[in-house]
Symmetry: C2
Subunit: 127 residues, 2 copies
């Protein structure tokens, strides 16, 4: 019944439906993607190794995969900021920055409804 029928330019692949919630989930609704974006947005992280050091401990292969996808989706940009030895920096695009209100709502809901989460965002998010 609900097989993929539409094609999105942002993903370049099949869609489950035309619903904006579904499509947003298909881009950023997994266990790790929004945590990378959190780290960029609130902790000003920029490099692969900085993301690796998150408290949650993402695996290197997963992180590499998510960064690649986010770049494909136009949510982040990757650019070398130094050659020899080459080092890369990842930054949110406007499209990525626009996820801030979504993250803020998650922070808000989490604070209100989950126990063991005490402090305001900035202190909380420290690695």
């Amino acid at each position: 019944m609900g097989n993929p029928k539409y094609c999105s330019k942002i993903t370049g692949c099949l869609q489950r439906s035309k619903c904006p919630i579904t499509n947003t989930l298909d881009l950023v609704g997994d266990k790790w993607t929004l945590l990378v974006i959190r780290d960029m947005l609130f902790l000003k992280k920029r490099s692969f190794n900085e993301f690796l050091k998150s408290f949650e401990g993402v695996a290197t292969n997963i992180l590499a995969d998510r960064l690649k996808r986010l770049e494909e989706y136009g949510i982040i940009e990757k650019r070398p900021y130094r050659k020899a030895p080459v080092r890369y920096e990842y930054r949110l695009t406007k499209r990525g920055e626009d996820l801030r209100p979504l993250l803020m709502e998650m922070i808000h809901w989490g604070h209100k409804h989950i126990e063991g989460i005490g402090m305001p965002p900035k202190k909380l998010l420290e690695a």
Copy 2:
């Protein structure tokens, strides 16, 4: 480094971190959970079979699992509204209703940044 250390009363299981975003994701951040909540919130669906008929086509085992979890998390409530033959109804609790702003932000972001998503939410969400 990032192994589970805390115990949440809402989940009754280990947490990846104290971050509210992480914890919110661990409750509702997967491919299907928020679609069930969308159906309750915007399409007034209440029964197992109604959820099954979503355009995205969730599998019965996944749906059963998500409803069970959401009940454990206190996000929905299940109650029989008729016996012989027994029929169940699922409803959002306050905790579930409070996810509305999060969903609204997803709709907003999706509309703004993903192609092939034209119409306003209510028409869009039709199954």
